[in-house]
């Protein structure tokens, strides 16, 4: 029969101080009297989930224990015994701290379940309850009273002060997908106004490809890390941050790249909290694209029912988002794609007519379908489609250049625009979210749209952060549909 032991106490110290000691899986030889020596095997960090500690107890026993979970937001950790000279079998233990808010004290619960050889149940229950847990309570209390936690090297008073290890994708040269290399790195304590975010999903945008190739070196000095957006949880906050706390689920889009990592510091200005109905992958995949669709429809495109829109790369992430949202607002959308499969997807998302073309020929088909031409063109194609785009534009039309997959767009002569009384725009998403409030407002419209069905969620393709270069290869192959996220 499984044995259960539970002990709890109140410690006269704030939770941050108690947690700083307990979250260090290698700290017991500094405060628990039964432990003579403790070391972490295989050179791992002592707060790294999966790490193994090797105890030599003062009574001569040996125990190897593995850290199973560590939760800084909930102040909770669990571990199990892998091997022990004491006959504790299937031993799994959980340590939980909770703040006593009216007095800066801490509630500490230590519990476990385990099996024993027949006849030794009571003896081993007593050993765990009294020898380990209750003695541990007293020992830690004494350790804190003596201020030993503040003096001992290696047990910093605040865990959040420490730099934390992370995985990061960097490039030390501009070029193809192969320049992206994954390695170990560190993220320091967040600076003033910053949040340190444990990132779970990172959005991949075609813009990342331009930066990777070195088209805008000022935005990505080498060595550099790509990525404009990611979703995850706040780990800790820098000075002056009052609107986020550790544990908040968040997503951000930041004008400085560096999102391709498992951990990142980012200014709280660029971060919004996530509603429960939006998962991490969706948030990371759709924040930048959703904000872009929002300003295109509401601000730049000044959308009107029955307006005629031409959307290139209609089966891409932004394309699908625009098709479904624009259709819901009464817009007629014609799209271009490069394959029949993509055409089917674009139609499913609200495109009323889809042109399949691999060589950027579409103007005649657009004019045939729309009569005069398109009132608004959302152009990610660039130079190879320059003539066709202008030809497809209706009188007084608006040509919005967002990207240049086919090559950098050559300068547009104002006299060219005169012949159609046309408008040309070259917008940047970040200019449409100059303040925290404007970002929150646009993001909220995207979440609301996803929630009430007025935006259909594009398919999401997932790659591990370790496979960032493969994700880029796939994006550039022109065979991908929808959006791509990296999972950290």
């Amino acid at each position: 029969m499984l044995q259960r032991v539970l002990r709890s106490t109140i410690i006269d110290a704030p939770i941050e101080r108690v947690w700083a000691v307990l979250r260090d899986f290698n700290s017991h030889d500094r405060w628990h009297d039964i432990v003579a020596q403790s070391r972490i095997e295989a050179g791992q960090g002592s707060s790294q989930v999966g790490c193994v500690r090797n105890f030599a107890l003062k009574d001569g026993h040996q125990i190897r224990e593995q850290l199973l979970t560590l939760d800084d937001a909930q102040h909770k950790l669990s571990y199990c015994i892998l091997e022990a000279s004491v006959p504790l079998q299937r031993y799994v233990s959980t340590v939980t701290l909770k703040p006593v808010t009216d007095g800066r004290r801490t509630f500490w619960q230590w519990e476990s379940t385990f099996a024993t050889p027949p006849g030794q149940e009571r003896e081993l229950r007593d050993m765990v309850a009294k020898g380990v847990y209750e003695a541990g309570f007293d020992n830690l209390r004494r350790h804190l009273q003596q201020g030993a936690d503040l003096r001992t090297p290696g047990s910093a008073p605040m865990p959040m002060g420490l730099p934390l290890a992370c995985r990061r994708v960097t490039q030390s040269a501009y070029g193809g997908p192969e320049v992206l290399v994954v390695g170990d790195s560190e993220v320091p304590h967040p600076a003033q106004g910053q949040l340190r975010i444990r990132q779970r999903a990172i959005g991949v945008n075609f813009f990342d490809v331009y930066l990777r190739r070195g088209w805008i070196p000022a935005m990505l000095p080498l060595p550099g890390t790509l990525g404009m957006e990611a979703a995850g949880s706040v780990l800790d906050v820098g000075e002056g941050v009052t609107d986020f706390v550790a544990g908040d689920r968040v997503v951000y889009m930041a004008p400085q790249p560096a999102a391709y990592a498992s951990l990142r510091n980012v200014s709280a200005e660029h971060v919004v909290r996530l509603p429960a109905h939006v998962d991490d992958d969706t948030a990371a995949a759709l924040l930048l694209k959703g904000v872009t669709a929002d300003y295109l429809l509401r601000d730049l495109g000044r959308v009107k029912p029955a307006a005629r829109w031409l959307v290139h790369a209609a089966a891409g992430g932004l394309g699908l988002l625009l098709c479904s949202w624009a259709k819901r607002l009464g817009v007629r959308v014609v799209g271009t794609v490069s394959s029949e499969d993509k055409a089917r997807l674009a139609r499913e998302f609200g495109c009323e007519y889809v042109i399949v073309t691999k060589d950027y020929r579409f103007a005649d088909a657009v004019k045939q379908h729309f009569g005069d031409g398109a009132d608004v063109i959302v152009d990610g194609l660039g130079d190879a489609a320059r003539e066709e785009n202008f030809k497809a534009l209706a009188s007084c039309g608006h040509w919005i250049s967002l990207g240049q997959v086919s090559g950098a767009l050559q300068p547009i002569d104002p006299d060219l625009l005169v012949s159609k009384s046309a408008t040309f725009s070259r917008p940047v998403a970040f200019a449409y979210v100059p303040t925290k409030a404007s970002l929150a407002e646009r993001a909220q419209r995207v979440w609301d749209g996803l929630g009430d069905g007025s935006i259909k969620r594009p398919p999401i393709e997932r790659y591990s952060l370790e496979a960032a270069s493969r994700a880029h290869e796939w994006l550039e192959s022109r065979r991908s549909t929808g959006t791509i996220v990296l999972l950290a």
């Binding site: 002990r7 709890s8 109140i10 703040p99 006593v100 509630f107 309570f137």
Partner: protein
């Protein structure tokens, strides 16, 4: 979504404190801010789904529905149906946990709700301070006198 969390340590066993607070119709007998209480539709006060109808000291009428009650976990969860405070989707939990070393227990009272922008601070102070901490202080005084 606003979250409020207040906790304390009461010098009595979880069993005795639970005995004082478990009755969903019993607020006036232990909470200084509440003057009367009744359960609507003659339902039993430990029946999940029952509604308590009570008045605060300043005359405000509040209706709350019992969502969960666990004698095993010493926990009770309820939502506000009607109140003058201007909160939406308000769900609160009051929970006790035994502290094994000594005759005392750890008490937590938490709530989640939404409200009009700009009122977050005022409502957090009212609910976390007067309602939750006020209730805890009364319990602490009561059990200290024994």
């Amino acid at each position: 979504m606003i979250r409020i969390y207040v906790s304390t340590v009461i010098d009595a066993s979880a069993d005795s404190v639970w005995g004082r607070i478990r009755d969903f119709n019993g607020l006036p007998s232990w909470h200084p801010g509440i003057v009367d209480s009744r359960i609507e539709n003659q339902q039993s006060s430990d029946r999940v789904g029952c509604i308590r109808h009570f008045h605060t000291r300043d005359g405000g009428m509040i209706r709350e529905r019992l969502l969960a009650l666990s004698d095993y976990e010493f926990a009770c969860t309820y939502e506000i149906l009607e109140s003058p405070m201007g909160v939406e989707h308000y769900v609160a939990t009051l929970k006790l946990t035994p502290v094994t070393d000594g005759d005392r227990c750890f008490a937590e009272w938490s709530a989640e709700f939404e409200c009009a922008e700009g009122r977050e601070r005022e409502l957090s102070d009212l609910i976390g301070g007067e309602v939750f901490q006020g209730g805890f202080n009364a319990l602490k005084r009561h059990f200290a006198r024994r």
